[in-house]
Amino acid sequence: MIKRLDKVRRGEPFTIRVDDDVIIAYEGETLATALLASGKGIIRRTLKDKSPRSYYCGMGICNECLVTLENGNRVRACQTFAAPSLKVNTHE
């Protein structure tokens, strides 16, 4: 859904786990950026209709971009920074 601009200086890439996959991220990027840049357009599916949802408001108030961290916390991907060896679950 998105692509990183070459003119932006980024540090060394690291990897994070998303479900059974491994994707790359850079320091300063949010989980949303890492997910969307890796080609994962669907961030979650709704409870009732299992409808695909993704990044919408970008400012942390619509709560569409929810993912689950290893400690069980449900967080907004657009407000959570990616960090090395983070494990993220998109299937609740």
């Binding site: 859904m1 601009l5 990027e29 357009g41 695909p52 949802r53 619509c62 920074f81």
Partner: protein
């Protein structure tokens, strides 16, 4: 519990203006912001350590921001960044997400929570790939990324052209812009902007750039439906009439990968509702505005509002309103005489009136039109969080429930994580077709804590921390 004279909730232009002014007048001030950096939405910076030589998007009001930052950094303002306020209890006790010491007792509070993008529902608006214009700007400005593939921009107002230009400049493929207003109306509406040669020059520049890259702009047009299974694949474009209703028979399909749309902004009133301030419903933007005095004090004593959270007025207005609050707070705390405060506020109000034209322009440009409701079908999602469709709402209304709180209880609309931000506006539009003006003005919802979802773990940590403190106090006695 901490005690502070003046607590500012927010870190955008209004919050910064208020904190800087209050502190300069001797008020002990704390500013609480949710982000890692101060600035709010409009002054959003690239997230460190990402760096870029030249800003990806022209930074509006850069000098203003630099000055504000300098004022704050050279002042005694305590900035609590990355801190969430989740409630305002009675007696002005603020609850933050610091589990060890969450409460702050404030003498005066400024709620400067800003605004957010108005939701406009249409079939398929929840598909991955359909996002707000603000959302794509945040991706560009803060994360250094652009949308991939065919990008369509839709809605109304100057932000469409500004964003399209910014994205084009950075290599995005903008396949078109859909402007809801007709061409003649669009020209007429833009006239107030011409008073500023600077703005006029910029506007002409954006349009020239778009023309050069042959980006088609369709006037009196909008998205009737977004189609796709796992994400956006196609868009049905339709002509719109003066009331912004789709004109049947004018549909055409367009392949698209990302759709960014914007129909203006709505003042955020989560905290003012939590603090039990009085509000009036405003159908112009299908939302609520807190009521306030000429010194921006709400119906709750010692609780103030300023900035886009009162009514959309832009950066300059927000800063001036913040300074009026800072001045009044100093006066109420006895640090400024009536006369001195009166003088200062008079000057500030004069400066404010010189910006009024911008507020009027925004109000006119983004005024809601009932025709947008005609885009909704029975199956369209109105409440995204709780997946409530239009047909459910219509059914409840037919059965006799015609007010927000009742519909909320019967359908769960507004009870999800966004707490009504992205569904109340649509519902207000629907209700406005059935209720009288007098009834609409009084429509309101109850705000309940926490203002944003918090893990239960936080409350148990907070409780055990409080118990430990209690035990220590008992021991020391």
């Amino acid at each position: 519990m901490k005690y502070r004279d003046f607590v500012v909730i927010g870190s955008g232009p209004a919050a910064l203006g208020a904190a800087a002014t209050a502190s300069s007048l001797g008020v002990e001030t704390t500013l609480i912001g949710e982000d890692a950096q101060i600035g709010g939405q409009i002054f959003r910076q690239m997230a460190t350590p990402l760096k870029v030589q030249e800003p990806l998007a022209e930074f509006q009001n850069q000098k203003l921001f630099r000055n504000l930052k300098r004022e704050i950094s050279t002042s005694k303002v305590q900035c609590l960044n990355k801190t969430l306020v989740w409630n305002i209890f009675d007696d002005r006790i603020i609850a933050t997400d610091d589990p060890r010491d969450p409460l702050i007792q404030a003498k005066k509070i400024l709620i400067a929570e800003g605004a957010y993008e108005a939701p406009v529902a249409f079939p398929g608006w929840t598909l991955p790939g359909v996002m707000t214009l603000g959302g794509v700007q945040i991706l560009l400005k803060s994360q250094g990324v652009i949308p991939k593939g065919r990008v369509l921009i839709a809605g109304t107002g100057p932000l469409l052209y500004l964003t399209a230009s910014q994205l084009l400049k950075n290599g995005a493929d903008i396949i078109g812009i859909l402007e809801a207003s007709s061409f003649s109306e669009w020209i007429r509406n833009s006239v107030p902007l011409w008073r500023s040669l600077d703005l006029l020059g910029k506007g002409v520049g954006y349009l020239a750039g778009l023309k050069k890259r042959q980006v088609p702009i369709s006037f009196g047009a909008g998205v009737k439906e977004a189609l796709g299974s796992d994400g956006l694949e196609e868009v049905v474009v339709s002509r719109m009439d003066k009331s912004w209703s789709p004109i049947l028979g004018t549909e055409r399909k367009l392949k698209a990968d990302v759709l960014c749309f914007n129909f203006g902004f709505i003042p955020s009133t989560s905290f003012t509702h939590l603090a039990k301030c009085q509000h009036a419903c405003d159908l112009h933007f299908r939302g609520w505005s807190p009521t306030y005095t000429s010194r921006y004090e709400t119906s709750r004593e010692s609780i103030f509002v300023a900035g886009d959270g009162t009514a959309i007025g832009g950066v300059k207005m927000a800063v001036i309103e913040g300074r009026i609050v800072g001045t009044e707070v100093a006066r109420q705390l006895g640090l400024l005489s009536e006369v001195e405060a009166g003088d200062r506020c008079l000057k500030l109000q004069k400066a404010l009136s010189r910006q009024q034209w911008y507020r009027d322009f925004m109000r006119k440009t983004y005024a809601y039109r009932a025709g947008l409701l005609a885009f909704l079908t029975d199956e369209t999602i109105v409440c995204r969080c709780e997946e409530v469709k239009l047909k459910t709402i219509n059914q409840i209304i037919e059965e006799g429930s015609c007010h927000i709180e009742k519909i909320k209880r019967l359908t769960r609309l507004g009870m999800g994580r966004c707490q009504g931000r992205f569904c109340h506006p649509t519902l207000l539009g629907i209700l406005a077709q059935r209720l009288s003006f007098e009834e609409m003005i009084t429509e309101d919802f109850s705000g309940r804590p926490p203002v944003k979802p918090m893990p239960l773990r936080f409350f148990s940590e907070m409780a055990s921390s409080a118990l430990k403190t209690d035990e220590t106090c008992k021991e020391n006695r």
